[in-house]
Symmetry: C2
Subunit: 175 residues, 2 copies
C-alpha cells in the first residue's frame, strides 16, 4: 500500500478511536485542519484503501436502519503508524496570501501598506479567538502531544499578532 498525504491523518485518528468517516471529518475540522486538512473526498476512499491493506478492520455497524461503518486499527496498522512517526522529514508548505500582499505592498502609499500589516494582525487575532473557544475547559485532559499540537496553534497565532504589531511600530518609526 502506497501511503498518500491523507493516509496518516485517517490511520492516526482511527488509532485514537475515531471510528467512522463522518467522525473523522468532524474531528479533523476541530483539530488538525489548521496544519493538515482533509475532505470527505479523501477520507472515504482512504478508509477503503486502508481496509484493503489490512491496516484497519471493521465493517457494518448500522445504527437502526442507517448505514454506518466502524473501523479499528489492526496490529499491522499500528506498526505502519509507528514507522511513519519515526520518519524525520520536516515537510512544510505554506500558502499565505496576506504575506504575498505584504511582499508587493511597496506599490501602495505607505499608510495603506501599513493597513495591510494591521489587517494581518486582526486576522490572526480572530483565529486566536476561535482557537481559544475550542478549549471548553477540557484541553488539559488531552494526551500530552495532542495538547502540544493544540498549544502550537495558539502560540503561533499569538506570535503572529505580536510580530505584526512590532513591525508596524518599526515601520512607523522609520517613516
Amino acid at each position: 500500500m502506497k501511503p498518500t498525504a491523507v493516509t496518516w491523518v485517517v490511520l492516526g485518528l482511527v488509532s485514537h478511536d475515531v471510528r467512522t468517516g463522518y467522525d473523522i471529518k468532524r474531528v479533523v475540522d476541530r483539530s488538525v485542519r489548521y496544519f493538515w486538512a482533509a475532505s470527505y473526498g479523501q477520507i472515504y476512499p482512504e478508509l477503503k484503501r486502508l481496509e484493503e491493506a489490512g491496516w484497519i478492520a471493521g465493517g457494518g455497524a448500522p445504527h437502526g436502519g442507517r448505514e454506518r461503518r466502524e473501523y479499528r486499527i489492526t496490529a499491522a496498522g499500528r506498526k505502519a503508524l509507528r514507522d511513519w512517526l519515526h520518519g524525520h522529514e520536516v515537510r512544510h508548505e505554506l500558502r499565505d496570501e496576506s504575506l504575498l500582499r505584504l511582499f508587493f505592498a511597496d506599490a501602495l502609499p505607505r499608510a495603506e501598506a501599513l493597513g495591510l500589516v494591521r489587517a494581518r494582525r486582526d486576522g490572526f487575532a480572530r483565529v486566536l479567538t476561535a482557537l481559544r473557544a475550542l478549549d471548553d475547559g477540557g484541553r488539559d485532559r488531552d494526551p500530552p502531544f495532542v495538547n502540544l499540537a493544540y498549544r502550537w496553534g495558539i502560540d503561533y497565532c499569538e506570535w503572529e499578532v505580536a510580530w505584526c504589531e512590532r513591525q508596524e511600530r518599526r515601520l512607523r518609526r522609520k517613516a
Copy 2:
C-alpha cells in the same frame, strides 16, 4: 479575466521588472516560494492570460537566435494589482507533516516522541541557515516591504526553533 492563485505572483513580479517566465521562476524560488510557490506549468500559461487581459504587454525579445519574451506591466495591470492589494482577507493554508506527527506522537515511547520535537527544531534551524545564506549583504537595499517579507521568514524560523526548545524542556520537566 478571472484571477487565479498564480495571477498575483506573476503580475507582481513583472511589476518589479522581472520580465521573462524563466526569471520569474528563478526569483520566486529565492523569495516568495516560502509562502507562495509557483511552477513553470503555471507561470507560462499565466503570462499568456495576463497578456490577453491587457495587464501586461511585451513580446519577442530574442537574445541572438534564442527565443525570449519580455513583458512589462501596463496601466491596467497596475490598477488590477493595487485593487488586489486592497483586499483584506487573510487566507492561510498550512501543510506541516512534522506537526501532524507530533499530534500522534503519544503512540511512541516518551523519549522517541521528544526526538520528534528535536527533529522539528533541527529542520527549522536548517531552513534558517538557508534563508540567511540568501542574504548576501544586500537585503537592506530591498524595498521596505520586500524586506519585511524576508524578515518574516527569518523571524518565523527563529520562533519555531525557540518554541521547540521551550516545549522540549517543558515536557522533560513534567516527566
